[in-house]
Symmetry: C2
Subunit: 343 residues, 2 copies
Amino acid sequence: MPPTRHQTIKDVAERAQVSTATVSRVINRTGKVHAKTAARVTRALEELGYVPNAWARAMATDGSDLMGLIVPDILNPFFAAIYSGLNETAKHRGLAVWMVDSGDNPEKERQALHMLGRYRAQGIIITPAHPAANLAAIERIGTPVCLVDRRLAKNLWDLVLIDNVNGARQAAQLFVAAGHQRIAIIAGPQDSTPGVERLQGFVDALAAEGLDMPPEYIKFGDFRQESGFSLARELLALDAPPTAIFSCNNLMTMGLLQAIHSYPGAALGETVAVIGFDDIPISTLTDPPLTVVSRPMKEMGVQAAKLITARMEAPEKPQETVVLGPQLVIRGSEKIAGLLRWI
Amino acid sequence: MPPTRHQTIKDVAERAQVSTATVSRVINRTGKVHAKTAARVTRALEELGYVPNAWARAMATDGSDLMGLIVPDILNPFFAAIYSGLNETAKHRGLAVWMVDSGDNPEKERQALHMLGRYRAQGIIITPAHPAANLAAIERIGTPVCLVDRRLAKNLWDLVLIDNVNGARQAAQLFVAAGHQRIAIIAGPQDSTPGVERLQGFVDALAAEGLDMPPEYIKFGDFRQESGFSLARELLALDAPPTAIFSCNNLMTMGLLQAIHSYPGAALGETVAVIGFDDIPISTLTDPPLTVVSRPMKEMGVQAAKLITARMEAPEKPQETVVLGPQLVIRGSEKIAGLLRWI
DNA sequence: GATGTGTCTGTAAACGATAACAAGGAGAGG
DNA sequence: CCTCTCCTTGTTATCGTTTACAGACACATC
């Protein structure tokens, strides 16, 4: 292959015997162009296989048509689904979405913010790694910002949230309805809003049912599989192990299942019941299949796209929060054989 | 927040009482600048919170420092791992990676190629959705291209491949060693190289062991979970169902497990044994845990980064192919209780 | 024929950065 | 004191695109 330089609008102009302004007018359908001239330009465009240069355009128009999405874990289906919803909606508005992984790590997140700044993203959708770590950097961003799933220490930005309290409450009530008395929770980190809210909702709902949670039934993980595994083993090793465990995110649920599976004498649906927060691909493969609190993940991305494009058009409009409701998907793992409901 | 325009190099120059050239020199450490001047510039840089404009830089230097990665499925951990390896290696070389999802769909892939072209990506790493659909478009790309995991109809580009034949052979031999006679395969689409090679390797290896595969034991799926599920049910419903099934990718393996789980009388490790191609998060959670042919996914991304950066420096060097070896991870699901090894 | 009104097209100045070139000043050597 | 170098800095053209402005022409109207 010859070292083909990219064709420019100038090359097209020459070949079509017009000025670059006219070519630009044809490409963008702005301004009047005689049909015959337009045809000549279009032909030149095609013959040369012209591909517009997005940066040059961005520089001239002061708009990159680029949106950044920063997620803590590209591997987590939850964030992949958000990307999917965001991307589809953004594409309709002529915007491209660049997804970057922060690894849930403030330093990498800082780098990601900086990179998207350099490429002049016109809007940033982010699930922050930490409620305060990059607060200053985020405040300094000159473009619209929309937070998804997690809040920041300051309430300055549009938000797409899930009603975590409500989701956790539904899980708690289902456990109680299934007859459980010894109910434990593997909670998330308490410096993240979902971590706090899910714990809160769960504990409060049990209290409302007259059940107090002893401290040894409340374990704090870090939303990773490994912590779900080890904390679950701690719970199973108690003198009076819980008969029901609520796990506060999908990865920890994986670890929890692994722990139950490998723990002598423990068996899902027999000695211990489980409800997880967020669906996972294996939900339907366990025995019994897994009951989970499920979130409208893709819809979260769609809403984020709407919020941020709205703000791009009206930067000074009041801050807006969209709260979506989670839904309990009951598949069976919330019960154990030994406990009978007497309804 | 005030509608802060981005600071430019000119703003910095004014504040530091120097010319834009000097600022540029300080930023890029090119050319000599007096220590005192440099300090003044650095201070201005910080005080204004200057963020360089990547496009303007790209236009002036004719280099976007941008690489594109096009994958058929962002949700598949396999591709997420490739991204991870690619990204880390690229970052060391000052390159940013933009991952785009083609949905394994030639039309969306075409759009992705076009988008990366507009943003003047300096290299494209791609797992093509189809061996020929976008061949012309890919040939027209003016920048280095590296194919990962799948070939194209023409052999013009650097390649990172897995020895699929070898991986499938190992699976076949393990089944035979475990005493199986009735061995089936859920193969991938035959218009993709991995699909062809894994089938080929498996069938040939069995033939070498003196086992012919009857046609009803060879099912063709599309690498999605749903096809794994339905094809597995077809196999289980045969008059003489297989005692061993090899599933040619991770998603179909999920479907296969689901089918076994839900099929009356079928049980993993008792009536039917399974080996999957590619590891999955639940491999260790099934009972027995899953035996799989595992690939060095992250390493594939690293190799792709190396190939493409090498080609960016020497565009005319001969085409190069890197073949990485898969590894059999034996966990137990390749056997069934009924069959005893007599070694 | 002078004037006005469109329609169409070209000229040239941005946008934000880099880099080739030029030029000023300081110090060294004669 | 003149000249030669070297160090440091500024001037300016350039990258590919858009767009405000102006100009050229055709046609209609009075």
